[in-house]
Amino acid sequence: MAILECKALSKSYGLTKAVDSADIKIEAGRVVGLLGPNGSGKTTLIKLAAGLLSPTSGEVLIEGMAPGPETKAIVSYLSDRDYLPDWMNLNQLLDYFGDFYSDFNREKAIELSKRIGVVDNKPLKTLSKGTREKLQLVLVMSRDAKLFLLDEPIGGVDPATRDTIIDTIIKNYNPDAAVIISTHIITDIEKILDDVIFINEGKISLVESVDDIRAKHQKSVDAYFREVYKC
């Protein structure tokens, strides 16, 4: 059974169709890039899969189930916003995540936090923006989830931080889980993707493997993306 399946999935805000009859199927073990320009519907699609928005029409299924408490227990979602509580320290934050998610792996979170240089127990407000983004990813990747939804994990961070984030995603690869990464910065991330989904104005325009795109067009996905979305 597919980890994520969208059937004619649509979400409208008034007259604007943020997601327009999307059909998507993502199997276990795949790392998929959701690529599109700003305002193309990436975040809306991810929020639908995370169960944070309900569809206007169509269906979204996680392991065959409509979003609800059962799917939220197996979906690990990284928001594109910073939601870390300033007043907590690392220990309190790990307790907090442990309380929320039964699949939260505290040992893993401690190990990954160490790798990004968060070890002491100073309040989180003392951390830099880049470190906070890395820490949010660490928390999300420390769950033994089936579906990881990462909304813009590498937006607005420096190249070294980007490398750490990419490495964290590779090191946590699990053949039983699927990872979806939304981004408009493709260069650095295409090496870690199996497949890409192009979305524009809410419509899915392409679903293909990275190496098939490279073989067919003799160019990187990044270059191909620039060509397709050239204004």
Binding site: K171, K191, I192, V210, Q218, D222
Partner: protein, 123 residues
């Protein structure tokens, strides 16, 4: 040999080439156990499925072999490694000769140039 990728070819086939070079150059020695796909993917910064596919291709070409429980090893067959060295060399020479033709070198002029230049290279 660094894990660097160009923007024209599939990542999988570039991985195959880099891994072959690592074997031919002796960075991975005959009979040596290779790192796990997970570790080697993280070192290369690539998707583990893509790395797995590249390893599978090397296995099909008998350059590496899997021992069920012990992991993946470089072949001990030195002739096979030598053959790969020649294959890689041939590919590089072909594209070099083609480029030199585009630059307007005749075969005899190219050979003369090569002989002169190789003489300048210190051993």
């Amino acid at each position: 040999m660094e894990w660097q990728f160009d923007n024209e070819r599939p990542i999988y086939s570039q991985l195959v080439d880099i891994l072959k070079l690592k074997i031919v150059s002796g960075e991975y020695k005959p009979g040596e156990r290779l790192p796990s796909v997970r570790d080697i993917s993280s070192e290369a910064g690539v998707n583990p499925n893509t790395m797995q596919r590249a390893m599978q291709e090397l296995e099909n070409q008998n350059l590496v072999l899997t021992q069920r429980t012990a992991g993946r090893f470089v072949t001990e067959d030195k002739e096979r490694v030598e053959m790969t060295r020649e294959e890689l060399a041939e590919g590089h020479i072909q594209s070099f000769v083609k480029l030199m033709e585009q630059l307007g070198y005749s075969k005899s002029r190219l050979i003369a140039l090569l002989a002169a230049k190789i003489g300048e290279v210190k051993e």
